[in-house]
């Protein structure tokens, strides 16, 4: 026999006889889900990355406190990357007699490389995107500059030796959030013009930035190239560093999407196992005949594997095509919810999804299919002699190993992969144990009561391996569905709640010590929500353990670069909200002198730990302290947080100011204006708009994740249907026998419902428990966010599982009731 010919001939008939349609459908759904998840995730991912990069105004930023010795733009240009430069520093600007501390930003043509700078003709007027950058004599300013210097549009202001004409007000600056602290109102001018203004003498606190943007691959290779060439004091600002919140949002988005994709693959695997098992059981007789007629074992396996493949290929391609189309429509329908330019999906997701689906077909299909090799030919004489051994550990082990490999490969994230693998294995074990208990207890449950119930429940005890598979299949399908519910309800809302509606929307900075009382009183009067005022001193780190930092950090150029220049330090008598000690004590009675608490990741990057001493110098004053604790900081809180905090008020006369964050509804901004009038040097930073963008992004991501989950849900439903139809022919035969013996339709229905409802209830309650467990694992190990489990879920799982599976099982077994017994029995004979 030529397996290819045989299989090609068979596949038409298999399709016609409807036997493998279920398998093809499962495969198509899984391929569609994978493609849709892959392509949609790819597009959303790149759209979101782009959206987030808008907050950097670039894909990559090189920043330093000194004039860069080398201009990286030449190299960038050679690599077909776009580039621009900015510099930023605080200075006093004059307009007539009035003066104002402003934050000057010089920008070169091309700025911003990502995102949009929006301008208005008059303060708070309608905003339009900027076309280009300021002309050499132009200044675009924050509306506050207009108000405080009492200018009208077209007036001039002086910066150093140069005079600039105010032509526009800035409505939105993409990378304004880049440096939150010490921001005075913005004055944006031409890069070269400001260089010529003679303001950048020694001691000026200038931040130079080179912005780079281009396709992801070039940017990444440029970054690698750059790493070893950075000058002293230069560093690459990444998204995660400068926009912690956005960076974390993106990470979570990727993880959620990955979770959805993984779940879809595993579900399709389960569907394939169930379908192929049915296929195998239906073909035991045919294979016995083929063997009897002289067909070799490997010919049998090849022929039947090819049947699956011929059927799988078009199903996978159709599914992938449908998935690709549906993601396209999906993105279209999401419309403006996604950031402006949604890049087209590449063909990679289609190819990957098709490859993975076929691999899944083989990985999950071959182990059960390989049983066909071992069909003894003597089965043609006596079916009893030809039954296969019930257990085949090697096949089961192969599938477990394949699942783990798949999870590991697809997740590309060890923690997520480990959690998924653990959750799947755990859920599988719990379900198997539950099924075993059900089978053991079934005979006891079956006593008394009606005939239908007795017969249905007793069936569970008889069919043990079938029930085990059915509970496991249904349970894993339900676990996935419940898990999506858990993720949706508990995790997503947990994520959104990390940004409460009353998160601070204003920062007050540059509050002088003498103004503290006045500001506090004004804040109290305004009713603003605030954590209070925090001292902040800008100092140089001058010693680590008695050594110059450069000597102490000799072996870590990266750490050296980080402390080059100034650091912000603060102090507080007790641990502030949003901070958690992870090591040591806030105040250690055994340690003399001042004590310091460090943010743990910063400490790790600087290779500092408990017991190290640090000295800071500012304004001729030096303070020294010993590190006694490390802290974890909740960056989501949007409260002022510090890497370095002394644990007590510093007596030394270190020059410092205070900062505060507060929440005040936007319409009550008048209260803040009042405060600024009493303390004009205080700068107000509106972070509300940044928060607004973060919230929009979280909402957007949540929505896309939910949409992607719909496909996973579909895969779960296919698994449920596949599991339900397993064992149908046996039920049909038994039903026919019962009918022949005089059983009524009512009794048959009762028996079927009892059987399915019990299976569904057990699978449902265990699936809910497994989903809660997996949710907890995901929350704590992967997403690192608070988790409020819905404890009522198992109760819902029990009731819903019992009812839904009971009813669906009954509906799915209509043929048991509708087929005349004589037809069924004749077929079986």
């Amino acid at each position: 026999m030529k397996p290819i010919q045989f299989s090609l001939r068979q596949v038409r008939r298999e399709w016609r006889s409807g036997e493998l349609r279920a398998l093809a459908f499962a495969l198509a759904v899984s391929a569609a889900a994978l493609t849709a998840v892959g392509a949609f995730a790819e597009r959303v991912d790149s759209a979101l990355t782009q959206g987030a990069n808008e907050l950097l105004a670039a894909d990559l930023v090189i920043q330093s406190r000194r004039v860069p010795e080398q201009d990286w733009r030449g190299e960038a240009q050679e690599r077909s990357l776009a580039s621009a430069r900015t510099l930023e520093f605080p200075t006093v600007s004059f307009a007539g007699d009035a003066s104002l501390l402003v934050q000057v930003k010089g920008v070169s043509p091309g700025y911003p490389l990502r995102g949009t700078l929006e301008l208005a003709e008059a303060p708070y007027g309608p905003a339009t995107p900027a076309l280009g950058t300021p002309a050499p004599d132009e200044a675009w300013v924050d509306p506050r500059v207009i108000a405080e210097l009492q200018l009208t549009m077209g007036d001039t202001l002086e910066l150093g030796d140069r005079v600039f004409r105010v032509t526009r007000t800035i409505a939105l600056e993409p990378d304004a959030g880049g440096g939150v602290f010490g921001l005075a109102p913005r004055v944006m001018v031409d890069y070269d013009a400001v260089l010529a203004a003679g303001l950048l003498g020694d001691g000026a606190r200038v931040q130079y930035r080179t912005l780079i943007a281009g396709d992801a691959e070039s940017v990444s290779s440029f970054e690698t190239w750059l790493e070893d060439r950075l000058e002293r004091g230069q560093r690459i600002a990444t998204l995660a560093e400068s926009q912690q919140q956005i960076g974390r949002a993106l990470d979570r988005a990727r993880q959620f999407l990955m979770l959805a994709a993984l779940t879809a693959v595993l579900l399709s695997g389960i569907a394939i196992v169930i379908a192929v098992r049915r296929f195998v059981e239906r073909h035991l007789d045919s294979v016995a005949i083929l063997r009897c007629l002289g067909c070799r074992q490997n010919q049998v396996l090849a022929a039947f594997a090819l049947i699956l493949l011929w059927l799988g290929l078009p199903a996978v391609l159709l599914g992938a095509g449908a998935g690709y189309l549906s993601q396209y429509l999906l993105v279209l329908s999401l419309g403006d919810l996604l950031p402006g330019d949604v890049p087209q999906a590449s063909l990679t997701p289609v190819l990957t999804a098709s490859g993975v689906s076929l691999l899944t077909l083989l990985g999950y299909g071959l182990p059960p299919l390989s049983r066909l090799r071992r069909v003894p030919p003597v089965r043609v004489l006596n079916r009893q002699l030809g039954t296969l051994s019930a257990r085949h550990y090697l096949g089961d082990l192969t599938m477990v190993a394949f699942s783990l490999a798949l999870i590991w490969w697809l997740s590309a994230d060890l923690t997520l992969g480990a959690v998924m693998a653990g959750a799947t294995l755990g859920a599988g074990l719990v379900l198997a144990a539950g099924a075993w208990l059900l089978i053991r207890g079934a005979r006891r449950l079956a006593r008394g009561r009606t005939l239908g119930w007795r017969y249905g429940v007793a069936n569970l005890a008889r069919r043990n391996r079938g029930v085990l598979l059915q509970v496991a299949g249904l349970g894993l399908g339900l676990t996935a569905i419940f898990l999506l519910g858990v993720v949706q309800r508990d995790l997503m809302s947990g994520w959104r709640n990390t940004l409460p509606d009353d998160a601070p929307n204003y920062f007050l900075i540059n509050i002088q010590p003498a103004q503290v009382d006045a500001v506090q009183q004004q804040l109290a009067r305004s009713g603003a929500l605030t954590q209070g005022l925090f001292p902040i001193a800008v100092a140089r780190l001058t010693q680590i353990n008695g050594l110059e930092p450069s000597a102490a950090l000799l072996d870590s150029p990266r750490a050296q670069r980080r402390i080059d220049g100034n650091v912000n330090i603060s102090w507080a008598p007790k641990l502030t909200a949003g901070n958690t000690l992870t090591e040591g004590q806030w105040r250690d009675a055994n340690v003399p002198g001042l004590q310091i608490s460090l943010e743990q990741e910063w400490a790790a990057s600087m290779r500092l730990g408990i017991g190290d001493t640090m000295a800071f110098t500012s304004g001729g004053q030096t303070v020294t302290g010993t590190v006694t604790s490390l802290r974890e900081v909740d960056w989501d809180s949007f409260q002022p947080n510090f890497f370095i905090s002394f644990t007590d008020v510093i007596d030394a006369n270190l020059p410092h100011t205070f900062i505060s964050s507060l929440y005040l509804p936007k319409e009550q901004f008048g209260q803040i204006a009042e405060l600024v009038r009493t303390a004009p040097n205080v700068s107000v930073l509106d972070v509300g708009s940044i928060l607004e963008r973060v919230r929009t992004m979280i909402d957007r991501v949540s929505l896309t994740v939910q949409v992607v989950f719909v496909f996973t849900l579909l895969a779960g439903v296919v698994v449920l249907l596949a599991a339900l139809s397993a064992g149908l022919s046996q039920r049909q035969h038994e039903g026919a026998v019962l009918r022949t013996l005089g059983g009524s339709g009512q009794q048959l229905r009762a028996a079927l419902f009892s059987e399915f409802a019990l299976i569904g209830a057990v699978a449902g309650v265990l699936a809910a428990a497994a989903a809660l467990g997996a949710g907890w694992l995901l929350a704590t190990e992967v997403f690192e966010m608070p988790y409020n489990p819905s404890w009522w879920l198992p109760a819902v799982g029990l009731a819903a599982g019992g009812l839904i599976i009971g009813v669906t099982g009954l509906l799915g077994s209509r043929s048991v009731l509708n087929t005349p017994p004589v037809v069924t029995l004749r077929q079986a004979g």
């Binding site: 026999m1 030529k2 010919q5 045989f6 001939r9 068979q10 008939r13 298999e14 006889s17 007789d285 045919s286 016995a288 005949i289 083929l290 063997r291 009897c292 007629l293 002289g294 067909c295 070799r296 074992q297 490997n298 010919q299 003894p376 030919p377 003597v378 043609v380 004489l381 006596n382 002699l385 004979g829």
Partner: protein, 237 residues
């Protein structure tokens, strides 16, 4: 008769199965020899071990003890696949419940063993033999569109298609009414005569058994020696 004339020689073959209640002997050690052109009936009451013996002789199963030499090959020394190849080359089967592949037409069912053996143009040969069993008009019908007798004709055509040297039939008329059974019996013997194939039948039908040159009578897993056979049968042989 010399050893070379035997196409099947079984020596001391027995079958023991391991059950929950201990070992159960289905077939006690027995000897069977079949020569080319021979017709052999295996008869006996239900559960006497007829089908087991047939399975062992045909190499569908291996004996717990003893050895079978089929078409010059020792079955015990062959792997599962080698036994399959041997069946493909020289052994045909007809079953009580036909065992046609439901998804194949009559013609395709008959072509199957030829395709397995790699015969070129199996189509013509298969049509010929279907015509010989009287089914020239039904070649494109599926098994579920055929009557019991027609199904068995297809099965017989399939069995003879590969021109086997020995044909095993497990109660070939068991599922058929007596008239149809008679027709099928005639067909079997006719083909046996035309093609010179040895025929081994398991049957309950004494009339059918009586048409065979050799009758192996089983009782409770043992071959009953010819001496103790009923006179009528002994007289016939």
């Amino acid at each position: 008769m010399t050893t070379e004339d035997f196409i099947l020689k079984a020596k001391d073959i027995g079958k023991v199965v391991h059950g929950p209640g201990g070992d159960l002997t289905i077939l006690h050690p027995s000897d069977v020899s079949i020569s080319s052109n021979d017709t052999v009936a295996i008869v006996g009451p239900s559960g006497s071990g007829k089908t087991t013996l047939l399975g062992l002789l045909a190499g569908l199963d291996l004996p717990s003890s003893g050895s079978v030499e089929l078409l010059g090959q020792h079955l015990n020394a062959l792997s599962e696949d080698e036994r399959a190849a041997l069946r493909g080359r020289g052994v045909g089967f007809v079953f009580q419940s036909f065992h046609l592949l439901d998804s194949l037409t009559a013609l395709e069912n008959v072509m199957l063993p030829l395709e397995l053996a790699g015969v070129a143009a199996p189509d013509t040969a298969s049509r010929d033999i279907l015509a010989r069993v009287g089914l020239a008009e039904r070649v494109h019908h599926y098994p579920n569109q055929l009557s019991g007798g027609e199904k068995q004709r297809v099965a017989i055509a399939r069995a003879y298609a590969g021109q086997p040297r020995i044909l095993f039939a497990d109660e070939p008329t068991g599922n058929l009414d007596s008239n149809t059974g008679l027709e099928i019996t005639e067909l079997l013997f006719e083909l046996n005569h035309q093609s010179g194939t040895a025929l081994v039948l398991v049957t309950h039908d004494e009339r059918l058994a009586q048409r065979c040159r050799q009758v192996i009578r089983l009782e409770a897993g043992r071959i009953v020696p010819p001496a103790s056979r009923p006179q009528a049968v002994a007289g016939q042989s």
